[in-house]
Amino acid sequence: MTAYVARRLLGAIPLVLGILTLIFILMQMAPGDPTAMYIRPGVPPEVVQQLKTNWGLDQPLHVQYWRWMKSFASGDMGYSLSHHRPITAVLADRIPNTLILSGVSLVLIFAIGIAVGIVQAVRQYSLLDNALTFAALFIYSMPSFWLALMLILVFAYQVSFISWWPDWLTFPVSGMTDSVGYESLGFWGKLGDRVHHLVLPSIALGVSSAAAVARYMRSSMLEVIRQDYIRTARAKGLPERTVILKHALKNALLPIITLFGLYLPFLLSGAVLVEYVFAWPGMGRTIVDAISHRDYPLVMAVSFLFAVMVVIGNLIADVLYAAIDPRIRYD
C-alpha cells in the first residue's frame, strides 16, 4: 500500500505542474493585467508602466514563468498584488475560515445525505420515500445563491419581527462572529456565537449536495438490501435496525466513499456565491477576487492548492476503498 501511495504521489507531480502551466497561460491570455485597477483619468501612464516594471510584467512570458516557478519551487509562494501581502499570509487568514465552513457543510452533506438515503431505501415507494424524493430533487435543483438569500430572509429577517421567536433561533445575517461584542465573550459564548453564525451558511452550502448524496445512498442501499447475506441476517432473526445499520450500511457506503473523495477539494475551494452572500472571507472569494484583479501570483498559488487537494482527495478515496472492502488490494 505504501508503495502504491508513493507511486501515486510521484505521478501527481507532472499532473500538478501541467495544470499550473495551463493556468499560467490562460491567465496571461485574458485581457488586462494587475495594473488595470490603476487605469483611470488622472493616473499618469508612467505610474502604470512603473508598476509593470516593479512587478516584472514587462518581462517576456517565459521569463515570468521561469521566475515564478523558481521561487515557487524554493517554497516562496510570492506576493499578492491585490492584497499587498505575502501570499502565505493571505492564505493563512482565509484557509481556516474556509475549513470551518466547508468542514461543517461536509459533515452535514454526508450525515443528512446518508440518513435520508437509508430511510428512503428502507421505506421504498412509501409516502415518506416519495416526499423525500420530491424534497431532495427540489433542493438539489435550487441555486445555492437563491437558497442562501431565502434562508436569510426567513431565519434572520422575517423572524426578527416575531416577538415570541427565541433569540437563539434568530440567526445572524452574515459574518463569522458578532462584530461588536465577540471579544468580550467567554469561551462558551464565543463558541456559541461562532456556531450561531455557521448555521445558515453551512445549510446553504451543504443541503443541496446532501440531497445528491441521499439519491446515491438510496440506490446503493436498495442494491445491498436485496442481496442474499441480508436475507440470511433477517432469517437469523436479527432486528431490522441491526440488519440495516450493521450489515447493509457498510457495503452500501462504498460508492459514497467515491463521492467523499470528490468532495474533499471542496474543503479548500469553498463556495463563491455562499461566501459572497454571507460575507464569509473564505477561499472562494479569494480566488474570484484574485482572478478579477488579475492577481497572477495569488491565482497560481490557490490553483496549486486546489490541484493538490484534487489529487489527495482521489488518493484518499482509493485508499478508503481498500480499507473498507477487503476484496480491493493495491500492489
Binding site: 485574458a30 485581457p31 488586462g32 488595470a36 485597477m37 487605469i39 483611470r40 483619468p41 488622472g42 493616473v43 499618469p44 501612464p45 508612467e46 505610474v47 512603473q50 508598476l51 516593479n54 512587478w55 506576493y79 492584497h83 499587498h84 501581502r85 505575502p86 499570509a89 493571505v90 487568514d93 482565509r94 438569500l149 436569510i152 434572520a156 429577517y157 426578527s160 433569540d167 437563539w168 445575517v173 452574515s174 459574518g175 462584530s179 461588536v180 461584542g181 468580550s184 465573550l185 467567554g186 462558551w188 459564548g189 463558541l191 456559541g192 456565537d193 456556531v195 450561531h196 441491526t242 445499520l245 459572497y276 452572500v277 460575507a279 472571507p281 472569494r285 478579477s292 484583479h293 488579475r294
Partner: protein, 535 residues
Amino acid sequence: MVDRARRSSLTSAIALAALATAYGCERPAVENTIVIGVEYDVGALLPIFEGDRDITHLLYLGLNSARWERGRVEYIIDELSLAERWAFSADSTVLTYYMKTGAEWSDGEPIDAADVVFTYELLRQPEVASPISYFWEDIDSVVAVDAGTVAFHFARRSPIMLFRSGIGIMPEHVFSNVAAEHDALASHPGVSGPGDPVVSGPFLLTDRRPGESFALVPNPFSVAGPPNIDRIVFRIIPEDATRVIELETGGVDVISPVPLAESARLSHAPGFRVAQTGQRYYEYVAWNERRYQPFSDRNVRLALSLAIDRENILRGMGIEEFASLARGPISPLFPQIDDPSVESDPFRPDSAAALLDAAGWRDSDGDGVRDRDGQPLRFVMLAQSDNQRRYDTAGIIQAQLAEIGVDVELRTYEWITFRDIVFNAKDFEAALAGWSVTLELHYLDDQFHPVDADYNITGYTSAALDSLVPAAKAADTESEAAAYWRAAAVEIARDRPFAFLWFHTEGVALSDRISDYKIDFYSVYQNLHRWTVDR
C-alpha cells in the same frame, strides 16, 4: 450500535442547547459603538496611494483641511489640520505652512516639518508609483524652514496650490527605513494587513481582519481631539441584498453604498435616513471615431443621442429620484462651471431620423437598417456584464437605436476586460461606460483633450479646446480658470463625442441612532469623529 447512535444524538442536542444558553446569556450590550457595512475592503492605507481616501484622511492628517461648500472645495484650517495657518509670498508662488505646536504621532513622537518633506519626497520617487505623483507637476520644492514651518515653492501661481499641498502626512521615523518602492511601502505592517499603523488622525486603526472587518478607536495623541464614538467597526459585506438586510435587522448602523434601486425604499422606511453624496457619477455612450468612421460626423452623433429616451430608462429602473439628465460632461455639483443654458438632449426620434437622412444614411434596401454607399449603419457597442444597471441600459439603448434604423450589436465583458479594451487599447466602436467626477476638473483635460490624451478614448478633437484647455490650466485664479473650463464644457456638450446620459448620486443609509454626520460630495466620513450615537 443503535444505542450508541441514540446516546451521541442526545449528547449533541444537550451540547447545542448548552451553547445556545451560554451564548444567549453572554451576549453583551455594547454602547457608543457603531458598525458600518461597506462593499469592499480597504487596500493599502497610505495617503500617497490615494485609494480609500475617506479612511486615510481620518488616519493621516494633512496640513490643511477641505470641505465642499457652494459648489467648490474650500480649504480651511480646523481641528483636522496639522497647520495652524498658512501664508502666501508676495508673488504668490511660495505657500508657507506654520504647523501646530505639540502635534504628535500615535506613538508619541512629534510631528514636524521633516515629516512633510519626507512625504512629498516619497511621493515623487518613480518606484513608489504613486497615482498622485502628478502633484509634483507644479511644485519646484518642499522645504522645511524649521521644525514647525514648511514652505512649498511652486513654479507659478495657480488655483490648485492648496489642493496640491494638502495630502496626508506620513511619519518619517516609521517609513524612513522602508525601501522607497511601491510593494515595500504597501506591505508595511498596518498599511495592508494586520498591525496598528502609526497615525496622526483622531482614530487609530485596529483589529484589521482583511476581507472581514477593521475597527477605528480613539487616538489619545491626536491633535484633532477625542472622537465622540468609542469604537467604529467597518464590516465588509460585498452582497447588496445582505448589506441592506443587515441594516434593517440592526446588524449594522450604516451601509455604504446603498444600492440605487433600494435608495427610495430605505429613504422612506421608518428608522432610517439616506444621505446622498451628490451627483458625482456619470454614465455615457462613447462614440469612437478612430474605429468607426461614421462617428466622426457630428450630426450622426447628435442623431444617436436624440434617439435615446433617457427619462424613460431612469423611470424604468426606478432611479429617477437619484439621477439628473446630463447636459454635458459637467456635474450639476459645479455651478460655477456648469452652464445652465446648455440643455440635455431630448428624446426626439423623428429629428434623429431626419438628421440621419440628411447625412445620407437611408434604408435603401428595405432591410430595416440604414445604409450609405452600400455600408450599413451597424456597429458593436460594449458594456459591462458585471454592472446590472449598465447592462440593462445598453440593452434598452440597443432597442431604441434599432427604432431609427441603427443596428447595434451588444457585447458585454467583465470590468477588467472592459477597461482593457476601452480605456487601454481603445479598440472598440461604441461603449457604455461611466466615471466618477473628481474634485479637480482635470478629467475634462484627460478625456477630451488633446486628441492623443491617455483617456481620450474616442479620438475627439476640437480646435476650440486646443486654446481653452491650456488657458484654463494656465489661469492664475479659480474664477478665471472656471470661465475657460465652462467654455470648454459647452464646446464638448455641443460636439457630443459621448452621448451624455445622466449624473447620479450614491446613497449612504444610516440608522436614526446616528446624528451629527456630514455626508456630501467631498467625503462620506469627513467628520466621522464628530458623529454621535444614541446610547
